[in-house]
């Protein structure tokens, strides 16, 4: 565990010494500030459109941070030849992968805390209330979803040659799931065999990342809390996919030549 945390620590240092997070955070704040300053019929209590915009920007920013940070971990180590002195230490490849994963995941968690704190402050400025439990549920599931995405990107970084192609494919895959994942079975119904069966199989096989993504609507429109049992089950569901992608990544990396 010590080695895993040591590797994770290096990833965290990398993130806060790069500019990515700060740029995205400032961009989010600026866009929200500009949109919040629009006068809508002299009513300064209108907030939901701003909450929706802010949450959308948070999701976009978190995906950018998660995927781009993860996609470059192993390829950058290989390209910059820092991988060799690293693996020359008593560090197994599995622990290296786990260290990279935890580093990226913790980094995303820290970023999410900053983003959601800003979101809470923004909402409270007009709503004058702090539904902390609701925000915590959304942030927690968001973080769990990012875990699955990071594990996927890590696997992709070992399969695809270039970080850019890995990042593009991950983005496309994740966005497609978020937009269409819920409705693939409906689309399948309208097709003939064998397309129908293939699409059904895809529907059940993919990680349904649209579930944490659509939780935003409950936050935006002040719906009550999600049941804690269901929250726990969803977290387990996402963890299962995370574990699956990580195991696959470890198996692929063990067979890969590193020089």
């Amino acid at each position: 565990m010590n080695e895993i945390l040591a590797v994770a620590g290096v990833v965290i240092k990398e993130l806060y010494r790069r500019k990515d997070f700060y740029v995205l955070f400032i961009l989010t704040v600026l866009i929200c500030a500009i949109m919040g300053s629009v006068n809508i019929f002299n009513d300064n209590q209108i907030i939901r459109y701003l909450k929706e915009l802010c949450l959308l920007l948070i999701w976009i920013s978190s995906l950018v941070i998660a995927i781009t940070t993860t996609a470059r971990q192993i390829p950058a180590e290989r390209e910059q030849r820092t991988l060799l002195p690293l693996l020359a230490k008593p560090l197994s490849r599995t622990r290296l992968i786990l260290g990279k994963f935890f580093g990226c995941w913790i980094v995303c968690g820290l970023a999410l805390i900053c983003f959601y704190a800003f979101f809470g402050a923004l909402a409270a400025s007009r709503e004058h209330q702090w539904p902390l439990l609701n925000y915590s549920q959304a942030a927690f599931l968001h973080w769990m979803a990012l875990g699955a995405i990071i594990a996927l990107a890590l696997l992709g970084s070992l399969v695809f040659a270039a970080p850019s192609s890995n990042a593009t494919i991950c983005f496309a895959f994740v966005v497609a799931i978020m937009c269409l994942g819920r409705y693939l079975d409906l689309v399948a119904l309208s097709l003939h065999e064998p397309s129908r069966s293939i699409l059904y199989a895809i529907y059940f096989a993919i990680p349904h990342l649209e579930i944490p993504f659509e939780l935003r609507n409950l936050i935006i429109h002040d719906w009550p809390l999600v049941g804690w049992t269901f929250l726990g089950l969803e977290a387990l569901y996402l963890l299962a996919y995370t574990a699956f992608f990580l195991v696959a990544a470890c198996l692929v990396f063990r067979r890969k030549a590193v020089n």
Binding site: I40, I46, D185, F204, V226, E234
Partner: protein, 303 residues
Amino acid sequence: MSNRRTIWLVLAALFIFCFGLAANLQPQFQSLENSRRQSDNFFKLLLGDSSRIFANSFFIKADAYYHSGYYPTIFDNNEAFKTPHMAEDTGAIASHNQGDENSFMGPPRNWIDAFSRHFIPNRHTHLDEGGPTDDLSKSSEVREILPWLKLSAKLDPENIRTYLVTSYWLRTRLHKVAEAEQVLREGLRNNPDDPQLLFELGCIYFEDYHDLAQARNIWEAGLRSWSRQAPGIPQSERLKLTNENFDSRYVFERLQTHLAELEEKAGNRVAAIAHWQQAALASPDPKDPQKHIDELKNKNPHL
């Protein structure tokens, strides 16, 4: 040294040439600009006709906000949402909704669908009825639909439906009469003499400002505009009880009905009876205007 002087001279010559060219082309530019005045809307310039598609999307988005996010997508059964409820509830738009608005998603299709429904809005509510909390003290949260309506109006200024819906909610739920009037006037700038917009504006003067004279002027202008809408088609033809005539009849009836009430309030019973008689021509149930006529005649037997 001579190189530097040459560079400055060339720059000066270029500047003079550009200035002269701009001055020479100015009259042509002005005439072009005037003929393109209709496209001074930034969004229309940017998006062209597709701005209407965006406008419609944002109008639907406002209705989704009206339902606190519980809204059908293109994959769901949206028979009960063909006419946005926030527009239907204003009474200004005819409804084409059918089916069950409470369960457009249908029963869960599989365990994933069943499980995911715990993470999305899953109950039919209206913001003006308290939203998800059913707390009527929060009915003013209907304000949340306004940004999308404002955006929709900007993108498609020729769609009067947006102005009607916006002004209704501003006036009735949020008690922002001045803002509602501004919205209607903006609608009239983009859609001159539209009878529906004139009707709503007249309502503001009648019900909120209690300015009977101005309300009368506006409604009568609305009637004149209604008459001019279909030149060559007789009024009787336009007031026939057919589906095609529904909107036209509806506007005419509302204008005549409200003018009748205004004249009653002003004590002009003759004018009031005349308007009720006109309203009866358009009403699907003529007994109601006739009842008002009978009441007025009973109060004044010589009429």
